[in-house]
C-alpha cells in the first residue's frame, strides 16, 4: 500500500468514472449532466497520464490529455450556449421538461 503504482491511479480513475456516470444518470439538470461528463473526462485523463508515467515512458498520454482538456472546454462552451438558448426559449433547464419532440 505504501508504494504507489499504476493500480492506485487506475482504481481512482475507475471510481471517478463511475461517479461521473452516476452523475449523468441521476441529474435532471443539463448542467449536471455536463458536470458528469467532466468527471468522466478527468478519469480518462488520470488514466492516460498514469499510463504515460508507469507504462510507456513517453509523453503521448500527456498530449492526449491536453487535447481532452481542450475538447472539454470547447464542449462546455457550446454546451452552455445551447443550454442558455434552451433556457431562453423554454424558461427551464430541466431535461425532462423538453418534451415537445417525442413519439
Amino acid at each position: 500500500m505504501l508504494t504507489i503504482g499504476l493500480n492506485h491511479y487506475l482504481v481512482l480513475s475507475a471510481i471517478v468514472f463511475s461517479l461521473g456516470i452516476l452523475c449523468m444518470v441521476t441529474k435532471r439538470n443539463a448542467l449536471g449532466i455536463l458536470i458528469g461528463v467532466e468527471l468522466v473526462l478527468n478519469a480518462a485523463n488520470v488514466n492516460l497520464v498514469a499510463f504515460s508515467r508507469y507504462q510507456t515512458g513517453a509523453a503521448d498520454g500527456h498530449m492526449f490529455a491536453v487535447f481532452v482538456i481542450l475538447l472539454a472546454a470547447a464542449e462546455a462552451a457550446i454546451g452552455i450556449a445551447i443550454f442558455m438558448n434552451f433556457y431562453n426559449t423554454l424558461q427551464t433547464i430541466d431535461v425532462d421538461r423538453g418534451d415537445e419532440l417525442r413519439n
Binding site: V40, A44, F64, F67, I82, E100, N103
Partner: protein, 538 residues
C-alpha cells in the same frame, strides 16, 4: 537562449507533397476563414457567405476528384517517423470528402432556395448567414477529418470537430422550441458518448502503449483480445456509433432531425452518417489488417453485426408509428445505417484475393452511400418544398401530393421505392451488392434480417405513397421553386439510372475506391514523411 533552443530542436515542416495531399482539408479550413474575412470586409451579406461556402465546396470537391482519379500516392502520414501517422489521405478518404463537399454544395443550394420560398424566420436567416456557414463548413471539416484518420486521438478530435458545430446547427433557429430541445438532446448525448469514448481510448492506450490503430492491430494479433481490450474497444466505438446512430445510441437522431431546420436534417442524415460509416469501416479494417488480428477481431465484428441487425429492426419498427415526415425519415436513416453497418461487420474476414483487390464490403458501402445520398437529398428536398408551400411536415401535408404537384409526387415515389429497395432503382442494386457481400462472408442470418427488414420498411414507405396518390385532399396545389424541382428530378433520374444503365459503372467505381484503399494500406506499405535533418533547414 532562444537561439540555443531553436538550434537544439530543428523546426520540422511537412513536405510540400504532403501538404498538397491535404488540399481538401486546407480548402475546407480556408473556406471558414474566408467566410469570416468576407463578413469583416463586406458586412453581413448572406449571398457572399453562401457563395464562398459554395465555392469552397466546389473547390474541395475538385481537389478530391483529382485525388480520386489521379491515382496519387495513396497514403500520407503527416508526422515524423517516430510517431503514429495522424492523417491518412487515400482514395477512400478522398471519395468520402468528395461526397461530403458535393453534399455541402447541394445543401447550400437548398438553403438558398429556402430563403426565397418564404420560411417564417427569413430575416433572421439572412442576418445570421455568416455564423450558419461557419458552423456548416466547420462540421464538414470535422467530417472530412473523420474519414482520414487512423489515430485514436485524431479520431476523437475529428468526431468532436464534426459534432460540436452540428450541435450548434441543430439549435440554430432561435426562439424555436423544437430546435432548442433538439440541440440540447443532441449535445447531451454527444457529450456523454464522447466522454465514454475518451475513457475507452485511454484504456486502449494503456494496453497497447500507442495511439496508432495499425500498431494496435499488430499488437492485437500477437496478444489477442483480453476482456479489458474488449471493454476499451467497445467504449471507444460508442463515440463512433453515436455518429452513425447505431441502436443503443440512436435516441438523439429522431429528435434532432425533427427539431432542426430541414437543410440541417438533410445534411446530418447523409454527411454525418457517411463520415461515421467511413470512420467505422476504417477502424474495423485497420484493427483487422493482419491475419492474426483479423482472427482476434472476429468477436468484435460479431458484436457489430448484432448491433447492425438490431439497428435495422428498431429503426424500421419505430418508423411505423410516425406521422412527421422528418421524424419518419430519421428512423429510416437509422435503418439504413443498420444496413451499412452489416457491411462493416464483415470487413474483418480475410480476403481470399491478394492485396489490391477490392473488398466487397467496403465496395458495397461506397455504392450504397452514393445512392443513399441521392435518395435522401431528393426525399428531403420534396419534404422541404412541401413544407415551404404548406408550412407542415406531417403526413397529411402529403395527401394527394401526386395530383397537387405531379412532379414532386413522382420524385417522392421514386425515392421511397428506392429506399425500400425495389428492383429497377438504385436502392435495389446497392442493397443487392450488400447482400452478395454478406453471402460471400456466409452470414446467412444477417441476410435474413436484412430481407425481413426490407419487407417491414415497405409498409411505412408505401404508406406515404398511398397518401400521395390515394388520399383525397382539397388543398391547393403545391408550388415549388423551379430550381428545386429540377434538382430533385435530376436526383430521381440518377437513382433510376444507377439502378439500370449505370449499375455496372457504379460497381466498378466503388470497387476502384475500395481497392486503392486496401492495396496501399497493408501494414508493410506504410509510408511516412521523412523528418528533415537540422542542416537542411537553413
Amino acid at each position: 537562449m532562444t537561439h540555443a533552443l531553436l538550434a537544439a530542436t530543428p523546426l520540422w515542416m511537412p513536405s510540400a507533397a504532403d501538404l498538397q495531399r491535404l488540399g481538401p482539408l486546407w480548402s475546407l479550413a480556408g473556406t471558414i476563414v474566408a467566410v469570416l474575412f468576407a463578413a469583416l470586409l463586406v458586412g453581413r451579406n448572406y449571398r457572399v457567405a453562401g457563395a464562398i461556402a459554395t465555392l469552397g465546396g466546389v473547390f474541395t470537391a475538385t481537389l478530391c476528384w483529382r485525388g480520386i482519379t489521379g491515382g496519387a500516392v495513396p497514403f500520407a502520414g503527416l508526422a515524423p517517423e517516430a510517431a503514429a501517422p495522424m492523417l491518412v489521405v487515400d482514395q477512400f478518404s478522398c471519395f468520402f470528402i468528395f461526397l461530403i463537399s458535393v453534399f455541402l454544395v447541394l445543401v447550400t443550394g437548398m438553403w438558398f432556395m429556402g430563403l426565397d420560398a418564404g420560411v417564417p424566420d427569413e430575416a433572421a436567416r439572412r442576418r445570421d448567414a455568416v455564423e450558419f456557414f461557419v458552423l456548416f463548413v466547420g462540421s464538414a471539416f470535422g467530417m472530412a477529418l473523420m474519414v482520414s484518420t487512423s489515430n485514436l486521438l485524431m479520431i476523437i478530435l475529428a468526431v468532436e470537430s464534426a459534432s460540436l458545430p452540428s450541435y450548434g446547427l441543430a439549435g440554430f433557429r432561435k426562439k424555436h422550441r423544437p430546435a432548442a430541445e433538439a440541440s440540447l438532446k443532441y449535445i447531451l448525448f454527444g457529450a456523454v458518448t464522447s466522454a465514454i469514448s475518451v475513457y475507452g481510448a485511454s484504456l486502449l492506450y494503456g494496453q497497447f502503449h500507442t495511439l496508432d490503430l495499425m500498431k494496435i492491430s499488430t499488437a492485437i494479433g500477437s496478444q489477442g483480445i483480453s476482456v479489458l481490450t474488449g471493454v476499451g474497444l467497445f467504449a471507444f466505438l460508442i463515440g463512433v456509433a453515436f455518429k452513425v446512430s447505431a441502436v443503443p445510441f440512436h435516441f438523439w437522431c429522431p429528435d434532432v432531425f425533427e427539431g432542426a431546420s430541414i437543410e440541417i436534417t438533410t445534411w446530418l442524415s447523409v454527411a454525418s452518417k457517411a463520415a461515421g460509416l467511413g470512420l467505422m469501416l476504417r477502424i474495423m479494417w485497420l484493427l483487422s489488417c493482419t491475419v492474426q488480428s483479423a482472427d482476434a477481431m472476429r468477436w468484435v465484428a460479431h458484436a457489430v453485426a448484432i448491433m447492425a441487425a438490431i439497428t435495422c429492426t428498431v429503426g424500421n419498427f419505430s418508423a411505423f408509428r410516425q406521422t412527421n415526415l422528418k421524424r419518419l425519415l430519421a428512423f429510416s436513416s437509422i435503418a439504413h445505417a443498420g444496413y451499412m453497418l452489416m457491411a462493416v461487420s464483415i470487413i474483418w474476414q480475410p480476403r481470399e484475393s491478394a492485396a489490391g483487390m477490392p473488398h466487397p464490403a467496403s465496395s458495397a458501402v461506397i455504392a450504397y452511400m452514393i445512392v443513399y445520398l441521392l435518395m435522401n437529398l431528393a426525399a428531403f428536398g420534396v419534404v422541404a418544398m412541401v413544407y415551404w408551400s404548406t408550412g407542415r411536415e406531417t403526413m397529411d401535408a402529403f395527401n394527394g401530393l401526386g395530383w397537387r404537384n405531379p412532379l414532386l409526387g413522382v420524385v417522392m415515389a421514386t425515392c421511397l421505392f428506392s429506399l425500400v429497395g425495389l428492383p429497377p432503382l438504385g436502392g435495389f442494386i446497392t442493397k443487392y451488392y450488400l447482400l452478395i457481400a454478406l453471402y460471400d462472408a456466409s452470414l446467412i442470418w444477417l441476410i435474413f434480417v436484412a430481407v425481413f427488414n426490407t419487407l417491414l420498411s415497405l409498409y411505412y414507405y408505401a404508406r406515404i405513397a398511398y397518401a400521395m396518390y390515394f388520399v383525397q385532399s382539397d388543398e391547393a396545389p403545391v408550388r415549388a421553386p423551379a430550381m428545386g424541382q429540377f434538382a430533385v428530378l435530376m436526383c430521381a433520374a440518377a437513382i433510376v439510372l444507377s439502378g439500370t444503365f449505370y449499375a455496372g459503372k457504379l460497381k466498378s467505381f466503388s470497387d476502384q475506391r475500395s481497392r486503392d484503399m486496401y492495396g496501399a494500406m497493408q501494414p508493410t506499405g506504410l509510408r511516412v514523411a521523412e523528418r528533415p535533418t537540422a542542416d537542411s533547414m537553413h
